[in-house]
């Protein structure tokens, strides 16, 4: 039987929306207060969804201990209490949550023990973003 397991992780990070391709005035117009020079921060929530057959012996799609260890090493140790703009993944792209979602999808797609369906990233309780890679989410999934 195919089932879907979702796990949520939390990290806090600083960022600033700014691109060298715009001048200062244009950055301020496009990004507003998110362009303030010294940055600001959020408590981010990341929700990752994996799918696969339920192992008939363990009853699991994925062993949470394995997933949590992977998230600790590859997500939390890398992003929590950092400035996102200083990370390698944001040297040429703006640290919007859209771009962050793509980077987080790239990270969890490398988890070897289950199939990543999609990532959901909440920047605040009012803003969230979903990314399922190049494939569109399966029809009927809500």
């Amino acid at each position: 039987m195919k089932a879907y397991l979702s796990r949520r992780y939390h990290f806090s990070a600083a960022h600033r929306l700014h691109t060298e391709l715009y001048d200062a005035a244009r950055n301020q117009v496009v990004f507003g207060k998110c362009n303030n020079p010294h940055g600001h921060g959020h408590n981010y929530t990341v929700q990752v969804t994996f799918s696969g057959p339920i192992d008939p012996v363990t009853g699991m799609v994925v062993n949470l201990a394995d997933l949590d260890a992977f998230a600790r090493t590859n997500l939390l140790d890398r992003f929590d209490h950092t400035n996102l703009n200083l990370l390698d993944c944001f040297t040429t792209t703006v640290s919007t949550t859209e771009n962050l979602s793509i980077e987080i999808h790239r990270i969890f797609a490398q988890f070897p023990l289950a199939h990543l369906e999609q990532v959901h990233v909440e920047e605040t309780s009012n803003n969230s973003f979903d990314f399922a890679g190049s494939a569109a989410p399966a029809l009927g999934r809500i």
Partner: protein, 136 residues
């Protein structure tokens, strides 16, 4: 087609254990979930039903009927019980969140008049949940 979701809650004990494995193997795979004294969670169940809106009542399904079915088929069986020891389907399968979602699907499938079961979502805690859509 419109989707309607009803929540219910139950609080239960469980543990993870494979009888054919040694204690060491159970503890290696399941960690502290293998403690045979059990532990517990406040589970939240979300049942999503798909159907068409009745042109007269405006309902997809009578929510009171759904509430009563959830109570009879799931909550009264699982709530304040030890899943491994007191719920028949978990005598032979481990009550992981995934298996609980499948078991609830089987308990509810075909029982809701006039609508189709779409998804069972079971939260073991706010940061962990499993979904089952009846897929083989």
């Amino acid at each position: 087609m419109i989707f309607l979701t009803r929540k219910a809650e139950f609080s239960s004990a469980h543990y993870y254990w494979v009888e054919s494995w040694s204690q060491e193997e159970n503890e290696r795979v399941f960690g502290k979930c293998a403690n045979r004294n059990g532990h517990g969670h406040n589970y939240t169940l979300e049942v999503t039903i798909a159907g068409e809106i009745d042109p007269i009542s405006g309902f997809v399904v009578d929510l009171k009927a759904v509430k009563d079915i959830l109570e009879a088929e799931v909550v009264s069986v699982y709530d304040h019980r030890h899943l491994n020891l007191e719920v028949p389907e978990f005598r032979t399968t481990i009550p992981t969140t995934e298996n609980i979602a499948v078991a609830i699907w089987r308990r509810l499938d075909g029982k809701i008049p006039g609508a189709k079961l779409h998804r069972i979502r079971v939260y073991e805690m706010p940061d962990l949940f499993a979904d089952y859509y009846g897929e083989p």
